[in-house]
Structure formats: structure tokens, C-alpha cells
Assembly symmetry: C2
Homo-oligomer: 619 residues x 2
């Protein structure tokens, strides 16, 4: 493999994916990877001899870019070192059959690891000499928890001392960045000594680095590390090998590998774009830049014969007007200010079960066609759209949770033309002006995937991850937002599965409408009979004990059933309705002085109240 | 509440249980707790005013033993301290309505926490004075991650300096033991200064102590801490309050609270027995000591019309003989040596789906009646047993995964008398002598519960927890064993839920038979057509590369498809069959030189091979 030929190649370690090696290869090939790192335990459990694996990979268009890992090579015990060399030679034999030329050797974690840099260099050079005899080479990597070599500069010092052509460095972003290493230092390493590069992101967690590495790595763009900056330094130093992902993650280990592989590929596309290292791909080119998103054009709820009237009634009580009826489908358009909700009775099967859920989000894009092209370039599944004669062409892609995402520019000749006016004229309503945000609970396996999806596909910025001790288990949340906060989307996930005990609302979703006067809105809503969620008096008592709120405001909050939160910018007042149908509720929110959150601190109280209503309903 | 009156009382913090406060109270009362700690967020989310909660608790027979937690009381900022006192007074008001006399104040974690011991003592004394005015008292606790007070002896130093009657200590076993604190030091604290005791166990994990505490605490007897030793020191120092559990655990937070509360109560019963602090309970008395268990009398598999012949055929090929037929039910008895397997075709509904699973384990007890009485005393669900006229009276309880546990003494007039001889005489068989161990995958929510269940109910000793990166996600395992290893049971759990990607064998179970010559057994099994699992050649190549095994042994292993493991005692050779029916397979194992494990290192290879067969079957 020539250095030039490898530039821009994308690889994935088999350990990133769930299943047997057969499952993993199929997933990596389908997602368009050029190569793989073979994780040794995957080979050991495979039914194929190494030569058969090589043939299988060739058939799938995958090169084998790395065999990994070889552990604990060096030793202060000469007998053990001799046995380790024997083991290495056996593995070099395997590599020859695999047709791969590079093996990853990790810094030793063993009690007999060599501390002296020259002696260690000598042992590595000896092994590299045996490797060279068989036409292979060793990429030496500092594990962040290595016994004597735990930083990349220490690994480079040893490689430099060894001065063997068949010995170079493997740089791993996790091992470098988890230890606070400075990638600027890579500049001192000759490019031809950078044998391999492994990429992984991670959330910032204060925990043992080995556990952090083995269970919580993420694909680039999903965590808190600066991967573009890291990669920039690696490439500037002259690295020409593949961009290869090595992510140990407990969720990915048990999720559909076909899906994880697409998520992984998306992370590399995002990273390449972030770095402006763009490799024109035949027929596609680099993804077009993300157009501005200026708000929600509409949100669409799937309802049935039971939930439809309930949700419609709630919208009416919230001050919405049923202004339009779709020309060809049982879809209603409800409007208030710039907030628009579609109730679609054509998609839920079976009907009559009370299902109500978010089916689609339509986003205002400055260039809907470009938004759609970008989504496709970032591997978003493009959805077929069954259109009637007079219906607008809305491009749609599927988000990881199955929600449809439309890109549109709302105008008279656009999607509203699909609706015949009902004749009803929107009145003053309750002062709700637009959609502030939408909250969607994600399937367990796709929370991190969703964060990257919205970041890459829509160009939204991810905010930090928060966790709430909710009544039925820990809930993890993250918001993604656009510039100027014109689009806000909050995603959530229950951290553990639920057994048979699941009395709350499963996977709740909400649409939050903005208002400039939530107290006035709340009074109007109550007067109109909106099914508002009751907030316990204990909640307001505690607020008062903690925050000494203005008595007038506190009285309003008690009267109106408002939740309260504050951040470093400002304050937030919000209310919720009861759950309508299976899992949707509405919120009305007022942001004061630039509050930038979502009232997550109140989620547990809200969930307990929602659960209480369920008990009442079913009792 | 007088000190004497409280002795032996059992309490649980509401934070231990999932659900709303209503759910938690119902669960705690049903499990027989005497009191609760009210976790403030649970009260805040509750619809009842504090007085209503007090009445509700009284109705349920629960006292409110503690209100908790009050955070960040002390402050270097006088204005903030004044606000904190105001907040405290509001909470004292709440306590008055609740009718509880003790509030937990944690050491501050805030940036403005007071470092100077005298000033801190002065502030605590001020707060305690206000508490005393309202007839309540403060139990001060050192959080392990407190800013200036993070050890129990530092908290005691502050309480001693404050010298206020309404200020005492709360000791929390997690905070003390996680920091390596020495409970022997409690002896210097006057008993009347020990205001409260919170008990929690935990596994040893190398992680940030706050995360460890908030997510991974366990009930006593489930983790690695010496709770009996801890409690012994607390009681020796003169503590007379309730034994109260405060366990933050992500699994319990989302599991059925009724079940968690029983698990919690069992942990206290176990702890009291371990300490020999036995409080005779009306009608029951202390649990009787655990009788010796000397082995498996039989294991019973539930089969149906499709899986029954398949499992029976496999048993025949394994060298078992169908020696008996149940007098009144479609149950077959198969025997080889002291290994006995029952195939029960009466319990699976619907039949014909190929279900095969472990329905019951019958254990040889030196005193079956006492084993059953102990199980009942430790809250094991006692199962009704539909018996025919001539059928032995087998006491049965349900394990957390639903498996029935029988206690018996095998003899001619016991359970074997329920079976009519088939006339078939057991031959030489394949040299399988007895059941070595049974492996059972647990439902996600009940892994820790199961460990304590077997420990408390059966008197088995838990071994350390191991984790394996299996092909479909991390699997956690733990064995429980009896004296002399006569009974071994390995339990497993998939750490995360599974989404739609679940191609392996769901929740596999196995019965492992012991042999003194696994090579001879394997040859016999193969000759008899046993559906043995193929072990990849790569696996044996890797063994040879790593371990330089004796060439003859290695050749035998390759020929016979044997797995290999070794520990500090000896070596282990084992083989597995294919999965029979839905989720059961058999193993044949040979322990050499006192090997004491279960071949966990080979689980991933075995699971990949089992999954491969499933692919073949369904393809």
C-alpha cells in the first residue's frame, strides 16, 4: 500500500461493531468503508482461516489495514520476553496470511514491563527486526494506562531510540486527548514514522481512564474532544494512512452493526468536512454546506380516530385555529401565530388505539434542495413521498428515531397550497407565537447517533449532555440548536432498559410553544378548558425556600401551575398539558433575559405528575 | 421515638425505589419496613401536603425516620449563610408537618463551603439551635466528596466542637468505606451523638466517588464492602436508631419497586443474621441456619413436543439413559452417574414452538424442611406444588428469574418414587458423573437481587463479578458456590437492553456435567452423534501462540473441539453442545488441579459459534 494511495481512505476497527466477524464485515462494507482493523478476538472466534478471511474481505472490497492489538511485548524477564517474541512471530504468520502489513503493539501494562527507555527500545527493535523479516511492521501505541509508557511523547521517545525501519507510531486520539496530550507536538515526528492513526471521541467523564476507554468512547463529533484539531496536527505532521475508527462503546457493542457502521461513516464525513479535508467522491463530491434553518415550518402529529379529536380539542383550547384541510389526505392544519401543527390521521395503524406521536418536523431552510442534498450526502435515509397532483415537493429524510424531517420554505405556492382553507380565521389565540422547541425521546440504541445526525445532517450545534434522576430511571438529555436558536431540538433517552415495571409515559414527546406572557397564556388556556398538568404545591414551596422569588411571581406560578428554572443568562417559566393519546404533550414556555435551557431540572416533577394521571386513568 | 423503641427497626430511603412517592410507600409497606427516609425530591414531586403524607404513612404503618438531604448549609458568605438558614427553617416547618424529628445535613460541596473547623462548627450550631427551637435535630454527614469535610472523623470533629444537643452524626457506610475509613474509630463517639445510620454496599469500582455513589450502590450483601463489620462497630458505639438503607442504583431506579423493596428487606435480614443481631419477629423468629447443600439432585428442563425429542436425543447421545417415567405427568427421568435430568413436557405453553429452558433446580439438602423454612424466612416466594397421590412432597421456592428451587434428599422413598422405571438400565455412558454447575441468564433487573437471593436463601457464597465483551454486548457474570463446591451456580446478565438487533441466543442457559476424562467423553459423544459445537481452528492457534501447550493436549483439543482455561489453581477443559430448542445447551467439563472458574474467557468464542449456527438454521 503506497502512502499516496492510502490518502483519504476510511477504515473501521471490527471492535466498533456488534456481532460476529461475519456480521461486522458485512456492515462495514455496506457502509462504504475502504478497510478494517481486525480486532484479534474477532478473528479468534471466526470460523475462517486467515487466508479465507482475506479472500472474504477482498470480495467485499475491504482491505485489512491493521491487526490489533498485540499486548505486553516487552519484559524485564528474558525468558518471558523470548516467549513473547515467539507469540509475536505466530501473529506475524497470521498477518502474512491476512495480507496485512501493520500490527498494533500497545505499551505494556504488565508488572514486568520494561521501564528503561533504551532497554525497551532495544526489545521493540528486536521485535521489529523479526517483523521486517516477514515484510510487516509494528505500530507502537502508548495506552493511557500503560505501566511505563502512557503518553504519546514517551512512545515516540522509545520509537526514536529504537531507530528501526519497521517500527513506528500508532497515534490514538483517545489515548492522547484523555491524558491532556498536546497534538501540536506531533510536528516533531517525521511523517513516515506515523504508521497508523486511530480516531475516537469521548464524553468528558471523571472516571478511571481504562474504564472510560473500554466502555464510553464515541465516534468523532459525538463527544467532547476536539477531533478536527487533533487530526489537523496528525495530517500536518505528514500522516498518509487511513482515517480509522477504534471505538469501544457498550451501546454500539449491542446495537445493529449495519446501523452503527453508517453512524461511523457519517462521523468521518463530518470530521473531514470540519477539517476541510475533502476528498471528492465519484458522483457525489463533498457535502454542500448546511443552509441556515430559520425555524419550524410545521410539526406533524400522527393521530388516529381516538386521539385525533382529543389532540384537536387541546389545540383549540390552546388557542389554535383549524385553518386548513389537506386536498387528498385526512390531514388538518392548525395555526396560531407562526406555530403550525398538522394532525395526520392517515399514518397510524391500527387506528383507534389512541396513538398520538410526532411523525414529522418541517424545517424552514434558506435552500431546501441544498438541505436535502446535504442530508443525503451525510447518509440520511431519503424517504419516498407519495404526492398528489397539487402537492408541494417536500424532500424528506428519516431521523434515527424514525421521525421524518422535511426541508421547506413556507410560502403561498409551497406546502400550504396543499391545504384547502376551512374558512376559519385565526383569532387572537392565547398569545402563542411559534414553536420554541420539540422534545423527542430516542430509542435506546440511537441517542449518540441522533446527536451526530442532527449535527452533521442539519448543521445544528450540540449542547452538553445532562442527566436527570427521573421517577422511572435516569434520563439522559441533549439539545441541538441552530444559530440564533431558531431551531431547538431536545433529545432524551432512558439510560437502562425497562422491565415489566413501566407505569409512566413510555418515550414521551412534546412540542413547546413560545409566548411572551406565559401567565396570561395560562389563564386563557385554563379558561378554555385546556387539560393542563397540575404542579404540586410542594414544588412551589421548595422554590420559595430555595430562591426567595418575588411574591407576585410566586403567586402567579402557584395559580397558573408554572414550572420555573434559571440559568446564568435568565429565567424560564413553563407549563405542560396532560399527555394526549399515547405519548405527546404540549408545553408553553417563556424565556426571560436570554435563558438558554429547557427546564430539565423540572422533568422529574413533570414525569411524576404525568404518571399520576395515568394511574387515575387506568384505575 | 425513644432510643430503645427504635432498636431493631428497619427503614428504607425512598430514593432506593422506582416510581412516584405513592409507588414507593406502597412498596416499602408491603415489604414490611417500619419506616422510611423521605428523599426531598420525592416529596417535592408529590401531590400531598406534608401533613397528608404523614397521615398516609401512618395508615401504612410507616414512620418517617429522616428528612433528607439538606445540602450546602455552611457558607463563607454571611448573606448566603443567612439565606441558607432561612431555607433550613422552611424545611424544619416541613418536618414539623411530616412529624419527623431528624434532618440529614450533608457536608457542603459548594465553592463557599467553610474550611475552618471552628467557624463551621459555629454555623452548624446556629442551625441546630433553630432546629431545637422547633423540636428537631440535625444529623450531619460527611459526603465522600465534600469540599472540606469528606471523612467521618472530620464530621465528628466538627460535631464535637459545635457541642450542640440538636447536632449529631449521620454515619453512611458508603461514605465511610469508599474512602477507606476505619469504623473502629466510632468507639470514640458517644452513642447519643449517633443520630442516624445509612447502610449501603457497593462493588469495588475504580471511578470518581460521586459517580460511584450516585449510580452503583447496592444493598448489603450484594457488593464488596464489609457491612456486618461496619454495623458491628456502629452498634458497639451505642447507636440505637433504625437500620436504614440508602442506595442510589441505576437499576433499582427503574425496576419494579415492590420487588426492589423485598430485595432490600432481604438484605437487612441477611445483615442482621451475619451480625447475629437477631430480633425475634412475632410468629417467625430468626431464620434457621442454612443446611448444607451437597449437590444437584436433578435439573428439570421444560420442553415441548418439538424440543422434547431433540433434547432427549441429545441426552441419549451424551450417554444418559431414560430410566423413569413420572406416574402422573409427562415427565421423563434421564440418568448418568449422579447426573439426573428431568424433561417436563407439561409446563410449556404453547407447545410445539421449540421452547427448552431450565424450569427447576433440585438441591440435595441435609435438611430439606429447614432449607424451605429458611427460604421462606428470607422472603423467597413459596410455590404451590400440584401433587399426585404418590408424589413426594418437594418444597419449592421461586428464584428471581422464575426458576423453581426444590430442596430434597434423594432416596428410594423420596422424589424418585414418583417415577415408574422404564426398564432401561444405565450403561457405561460417556463418563459424565454429576452436574458441575448450572448457568442461568438473569432478567436485566434482577442480577444483583439474584446474587443476594442465593447468598441469603441458600447460604451460597458469592464470587467476584466478571465482565466479558461478548459478541452482542457486555455480559456480567457471577458465580455462587457452596462449601466444597458441591453446588455451583453461574448467573449472567446482558448489561444493556437489546434493541431489534438480537441475532444470538437470547438469555442462554446451560447445564454443565463433570467428567474425569473430557477427551474420552468427547470422542464417545462424537461417535454417538451428539450435536457438539465446533471450535474454530483460530482459537486453538491462539492458545498455542499464547500458552505453548503440550502438543499432545493441543492435538486432543483440536480433535475434540475443546475449550481451555487456567487459573491460579489449575486447568479447565470444556466443550459445549449446540443450542437445543430455544435457549438451552449442555456442557461437559473437566477440572484439573483444582481449577475454580467457569471458562468465562471462552464465552465470546462460544457465543459467536452458537450465533453462527442460528444463522445457518434460519438461512
Amino acid at each position: 500500500m503506497s502512502a499516496e494511495g492510502a490518502r483519504g481512505r476510511r477504515a473501521i476497527a471490527t471492535v466498533c461493531l456488534s456481532g460476529t466477524l461475519e456480521d461486522k464485515l458485512a456492515a462495514a462494507a455496506a457502509a462504504g468503508f475502504d478497510g478494517i482493523e481486525v480486532f484479534e478476538p474477532d478473528l479468534i472466534a471466526a470460523p475462517w482461516a486467515p487466508k479465507e478471511l482475506a479472500a472474504r474481505c477482498a470480495d467485499l472490497g475491504l482491505s485489512i489495514d491493521l491487526y490489533q492489538p498485540f499486548r505486553d511485548l516487552d519484559s524485564t524477564d528474558p525468558g518471558r520476553f523470548a516467549r513473547n517474541l515467539r507469540r509475536a512471530e505466530r501473529k506475524f504468520d497470521v498477518m502474512a496470511e491476512l495480507g496485512t502489513d501493520t500490527v498494533l503493539v500497545c505499551s505494556s501494562v504488565a508488572a514486568d514491563a520494561v521501564a528503561d527507555a533504551d532497554r525497551l527500545a532495544e526489545q521493540l527493535a528486536t521485535a521489529a527486526g523479526l517483523a521486517a523479516d516477514r515484510g510487516v511492521r509494528i505500530a507502537y501505541e502508548a495506552l493511557a494506562w500503560g505501566r511505563h509508557v502512557s503518553t504519546w511523547d514517551r512512545s515516540w521517545d522509545v520509537v526514536r531510540r529504537a531507530d528501526s525501519p519497521a517500527l513506528g507510531l500508532c497515534l490514538d486520539s483517545f489515548h492522547v486527548l484523555s491524558r491532556g496530550g498536546d497534538p501540536a507536538g506531533f510536528a516533531e515526528v517525521p511523517g513516515d514514522k506515523l504508521f497508523f492513526l486511530q480516531l475516537a471521541d469521548a464524553p468528558r467523564i471523571d472516571m478511571d481512564v481504562l474504564q472510560w476507554s473500554r466502555h464510553h468512547r464515541l465516534f468523532p463529533g459525538q463527544g467532547a474532544f476536539d477531533l478536527p484539531g487533533f487530526l489537523d496536527h496528525v495530517l500536518a505532521a505528514g500522516y498518509t494512512g487511513p482515517l480509522s475508527l477504534e471505538v469501544f462503546n457498550d451501546v454500539f457493542r449491542q446495537a445493529d452493526p449495519a446501523r452503527t457502521a453508517v453512524d461511523a461513516m457519517r462521523s468521518l464525513l463530518w470530521l473531514e468536512e470540519a477539517l476541510a479535508v475533502r476528498r471528492p467522491r465519484p458522483g457525489t463530491g463533498a457535502p454542500p454546506p448546511a443552509p441556515s434553518l430559520t425555524g419550524y415550518a410545521f410539526t406533524e402529529l400522527a393521530v388516529d380516530g381516538l386521539s385525533g379529536p382529543q389532540v384537536g380539542g387541546a389545540l383549540a383550547a390552546l388557542g389554535f385555529t383549524h385553518t386548513g384541510q389537506h386536498r387528498s389526505k385526512p390531514v388538518q392544519l392548525w395555526e396560531q401565530g407562526r406555530a403550525r401543527v398538522l394532525l395526520n390521521a392517515s399514518v397510524v395503524r391500527p387506528t383507534g388505539a389512541g396513538v398520538a406521536e410526532v411523525a414529522a418536523l418541517a424545517l424552514e431552510s434558506e435552500d431546501p434542495g441544498r438541505s436535502a442534498a446535504r442530508a443525503e450526502a451525510f447518509l440520511a435515509p431519503v424517504l419516498p413521498r407519495t404526492r398528489g397532483v397539487a402537492e408541494a415537493d417536500l424532500s424528506a429524510v428519516a431521523a434515527p428515531d424514525g421521525t421524518q424531517i422535511f426541508f421547506t420554505r413556507t410560502g403561498p405556492d409551497g406546502w400550504p397550497a396543499d391545504f384547502l382553507p376551512t374558512g376559519a380565521v385565526p383569532g387572537a389565540g392565547a398569545g402563542l407565537t411559534r414553536v420554541d422547541h420539540v422534545s423527542l425521546t430516542q430509542p435506546f440504541d440511537s441517542f449518540d447517533e441522533a446527536g451526530l445526525f442532527y449535527r452533521a445532517v442539519l448543521g445544528l450545534g450540540p449542547e452538553s449532555v445532562t442527566e436527570v434522576a427521573a421517577p422511572f430511571g435516569i434520563v439522559r438529555s441533549r439539545a441541538v440548536t441552530g444559530p440564533g436558536r431558531a431551531v431547538r431540538l431536545a433529545i432524551h433517552v432512558s439510560l437502562l432498559r425497562r422491565g415489566e415495571w413501566a407505569p409512566g409515559v413510555p418515550a414521551p414527546q412534546s412540542i413547546a410553544f413560545a409566548t411572551d406572557d406565559v401567565v396570561a397564556a395560562a389563564r386563557a388556556l385554563r379558561a378554555a378548558g385546556t387539560p393542563l398538568l397540575a404542579v404540586p404545591a410542594n414544588y412551589h414551596d421548595d422554590l420559595d425556600a430555595r430562591l426567595e422569588l418575588d411574591p407576585g411571581l410566586l403567586a402567579d406560578m402557584r395559580e397558573c401551575g408554572l414550572f420555573y428554572d434559571e440559568d446564568e443568562h435568565g429565567r424560564y417559566l413553563h407549563l405542560a398539558t396532560e399527555v394526549l393519546g399515547s405519548r405527546v404533550f404540549f408545553e408553553v414556555v417563556q424565556r426571560l433575559e436570554g435563558y438558554d435551557g429547557y427546564g430539565t431540572a423540572n422533568a422529574a416533577v413533570r414525569m411524576a405528575a404525568h404518571r399520576r394521571l395515568r394511574t387515575r386513568t387506568t384505575a
